[in-house]
């Protein structure tokens, strides 16, 4: 006969109760505004009308296309940068690493002003670019520039940490087995850092989608050309709350879909890697 086991269990410690309370407060703090957004949008009853209006569709399309281009460029350029920094003992590269992360703490509006000063008509490179017939500010290209500037550090940081965390001896061993550094990178380094890289992509992509300040300063707010969804929401807030609500919900849904999609890909790859 088994007896006494259940009675001997320790009662919940006060620290556990406090921890649970803190978690509940935090979840409430994050969840309430999101829930309020969903409830208010649903009660407005105009989701489909807003969704299929040409202004909204243009903002959604522009946000998705520009953020997709941005994330592709970030991954192509950011991956080797992160890899080189993680494998180097160079002091210069360590300083560069801090410099690369600077946009994370830089207010986006300052980033926008800085980009104007670099690429704008009055900027350092503005004159040269104009002579070459290239105009960047207040174009869709400027939207992409602003997104890359602000969100690339999120990917590079995550990738660098992942590359730094894997066992370098595994890469060396791959080479002793006759595989080139390129083969080793694709078959050992990337699979072993996959989770970190996809987390970086998700963070960076989400940051691109939500980019507002730098885009407004450097690219402006022109429908169909530079008005991304966050800018569309701001514009709508001035005239029509319902439109702003519906756009906000759509942006939220797109962000969640991207996040879940990347999480799914990441876990699927991890499961099927053997």
């Amino acid at each position: 006969m088994i007896k006494g086991k259940a009675i001997q269990q320790n009662p919940a410690k006060p620290s556990h109760a406090l921890g649970a309370l803190i978690i509940i407060v935090y979840v409430f703090f994050i969840g309430l505004p999101l829930l309020a957004l969903i409830i208010k949008t649903a009660s407005s009853g105009s989701l489909l009308n807003v969704l299929f209006s040409s202004t909204t569709l243009q903002a959604i399309k522009l946000s998705i296309i520009t953020s997709l281009i941005s994330i592709i460029i970030i991954v192509i350029i950011g991956t080797p940068v992160a890899y080189i920094i993680s494998r180097s003992d160079s002091k210069i590269l360590k300083i560069l690493d801090i410099f690369i992360e600077l946009p994370i703490i830089l207010p986006p509006i300052v980033a926008g002003v800085a980009m104007l000063m670099a690429f704008g008509r009055q900027g350092i490179l503005g004159g040269t670019l104009e002579q070459l017939g290239i105009t960047i500010p207040f174009t869709t290209t400027a939207v992409i520039f602003a997104q890359i500037f602000v969100s690339a550090p999120f990917y590079i940081r995550s990738a660098r940490i992942s590359f730094g965390a894997i066992d370098k001896d595994l890469e060396d061993l791959s080479r002793t087995l006759g595989k080139s550094p390129w083969h080793t990178f694709w078959n050992i380094t990337i699979p072993l850092t996959w989770t970190g890289l996809t987390t970086g992509i998700a963070l960076s992509w989400a940051r691109s989608l939500s980019e507002f300040g730098a885009t407004l300063m450097f690219a402006g707010n022109m429908i169909g050309e530079t008005q991304t969804m966050p800018l569309g929401i701001m514009t709508a807030m001035e005239t029509d709350l319902n439109t702003a609500l519906n756009l906000s919900l759509v942006l939220l849904m797109i962000s969640v879909i991207i996040l879940l999609g990347i999480h799914f890909l990441s876990s699927k790859f991890s499961r099927t890697r053997v």
């Binding site: 001896d169 060396d172 791959s174 080479r175 002793t176 087995l177 595989k179 080139s180 890697r273 053997v274």
Partner: protein
């Protein structure tokens, strides 16, 4: 079988390495030495994972490195099999994919047959579909060796092959490595600081200290009666003492040396009377008696007092003194119990002249 010739100079921070290695194809070379002596650095230089400031590496007719001619084959072109200390199996690949990682794709019948031969020899056929993270230490070891052999290497490097295994597995891994060496006929370099492993696996041995080879020879010779004091220290020869040569007897092949008040007989060496020399003798080569023995062949019999008894690495250690002369003696626990030896007791130590050896600085 390919002979191996390597000369390597390497500097890093305060560490300098300079070694010259020559092996014939049948050799199984032991690199023996304490941590930080440069053993693993040599392997990495041979593999092309580190780059020497000066050096050359030749396996058979193939030149892998010659700094004078600016030749340096990259690591992935050297065809040197490597089994690191902690195996380094790829955690995201199955055992089968680890085994075939270095083989050309798609696998030809020849390659598949060769892989079957390796997996049969190493008895890992049943592990092929397993996840490497589910393998035991011994299984990981065999998979790592198989993976290195699968590339048909011209040279095989094993770094501390049994250091992380328990005693029983060590024995079986040693037998396996011997079997592989005989079967696949690949010159092999084995890094170890385990004397039993060196004796079991090596045909040649280099003792390393601070990036230099301080002594070379056959393992039983180097470990049994080393020639130099640093080697004797690094292989834990317990008794190293200074003595003065008092007589030489070429007829009987004996040298007599004075160690404080004792006259110790050692083999005949080319030394002069009056020379101060260092003598070594292993603690396990000294026999203990509780009564003075008579009519025995051992040339050295000394009355001593036991000052300390303690557990050593390989048995019971007795610290004994005859006046100022000190000896460390190793006996078994059963011998200690049977002879009922206690601290403070008087004992007789016996050892043959041939158990003693002269050490050069």
């Amino acid at each position: 079988m390919n002979s191996v010739h390597a000369y390597l100079e390497y500097s890093n921070d305060n560490f300098n390495l300079c070694v010259d290695i020559h092996m014939n194809g049948k050799d199984s070379l032991i690199l023996y030495g304490p941590s930080g002596s440069g053993k693993t650095t040599i392997l990495k230089l041979l593999l092309g994972l580190l780059h020497p400031s000066q050096g050359s590496i030749r396996i058979g007719e193939q030149v892998l490195l010659d700094t004078n001619s600016h030749i340096s084959q990259p690591a992935h072109q050297r065809k040197i099999g490597y089994v690191p200390q902690d195996y380094k199996l790829f955690p995201h690949l199955s055992v089968m994919n680890n085994l075939t990682y270095g083989m050309p794709r798609p696998l030809t019948y020849d390659h598949a047959d060769f892989l079957n031969l390796i997996t049969d020899t190493l008895n890992i056929t049943n592990l092929e579909e397993r996840n490497v993270l589910s393998l035991s230490g011994g299984e990981m070891q065999r998979v790592a060796i198989a993976r290195a052999l699968a590339i048909k290497p011209n040279l095989l490097l094993l770094d501390e092959p049994s250091s992380s295994l328990d005693l029983e597995l060590r024995m079986s891994v040693r037998n396996l490595i011997k079997q592989l060496h005989e079967e696949f006929k690949i010159p092999t370099i084995i890094v170890t600081h385990d004397q039993q492993e060196a004796l079991a696996l090596g045909t040649q041995m280099h003792v390393l200290q601070n990036g230099e080879i301080i002594e070379s020879g056959e393992p039983n010779q180097v470990l049994g009666q080393p020639e130099k004091i640093p080697t004797a220290s690094s292989i834990d020869i317990e008794n190293i003492f200074e003595a003065t040569v008092t007589a030489r007897d070429p007829t009987n092949g004996i040298t007599v040396c004075q160690y404080h008040d004792l006259n110790v007989e050692i083999p005949l060496y080319d030394i002069a009377i009056g020379d101060n020399i260092n003598i070594g003798i292993k603690a396990s080569d000294i026999i203990v008696a509780t009564e003075k023995p008579s009519n025995i062949s051992a040339r050295n019999v000394f009355e001593v007092k036991v000052t300390k008894i303690y557990n050593g690495r390989s048995g019971i250690m007795l610290e004994c003194y005859a006046g100022a002369s000190h000896f460390s003696v190793q006996i078994t626990k059963s011998a200690l119990d049977e002879l009922a030896i206690l601290e403070g007791q008087t004992l007789y130590l016996l050892f043959k002249a041939s158990s003693c050896f002269m050490l050069k600085p």
